[in-house]
Symmetry: C2
Subunit: 100 residues, 2 copies
DNA sequence: GAAACAAATGAATATATGCTCATTTGTTTC
DNA sequence: GAAACAAATGAGCATATATTCATTTGTTTC
């Protein structure tokens, strides 16, 4: 029985991953990035927070390799790195939309 | 473009769902419940926190309908309600174990 | 290179979260 | 019903988190 629990370190990394989607603003950011890349100004307008707040969120998501940045002139466009992440995220959304 | 973002209320509920797995202790709780139901004392030993802490976590997970409680005498056994939740959780674990 | 704009960063703050300790509630057994 | 044990609850505390404001960095265009 003692073996049947995830080790502390792995559990911490799993928690970190799910924590990425544990905030309303980040969920909304992800929900729109699923469709298309967006720059910070666009995300700020869509989500309804300041560009600064978006930048802070994007740093976290970048560090977890969930999103990647691409600069085009003055703008920085963000997109989701991994299709698996999209699936994981969508599954959460679908679960909620299915009425729970 | 304005339509392509999840509404505030749904996003909040999605965030709530992912937040359930955003803590190391809860990830460890889930990782062992995936195998089998467990009572509070067992969970406390496996996860390495007090029974009180487990109880607090279980209340949260219960309120989100992620786990259900079954009393057997003095003990209360917890199990995961929905197979979809197991899939969602496992996908997160697999993503991390795949080396990210 | 100055002006204008986009994005990032840092500091500060308010709120949320996870934990422990102390107490209460529920259940069994004598 | 008293004692013993399991679980739940509430208070309190320390830490983490999300946000905004002010400032800095990066890029373009004149």
């Amino acid at each position: 029985m003692t073996l049947s629990v995830l080790d502390e370190h792995t559990a911490a990394r799993v928690a970190e991953l799910f924590r990425a989607f544990s905030d309303t603003s980040r969920v909304r950011i992800m929900s729109t990035l699923v469709r298309d890349e967006k720059n910070v100004t666009e995300l700020a307008k869509l989500v309804g927070v300041t560009e600064s707040a978006i930048s802070h969120h994007m740093r976290g998501l970048r560090q977890l390799h969930i999103v990647q940045a691409r600069r085009d002139g003055k703008e920085v466009y963000y997109s989701i790195v991994d299709p698996h992440i999209v699936t994981l995220f969508q599954q959460g959304v679908d679960h909620i939309k299915a009425g729970e």
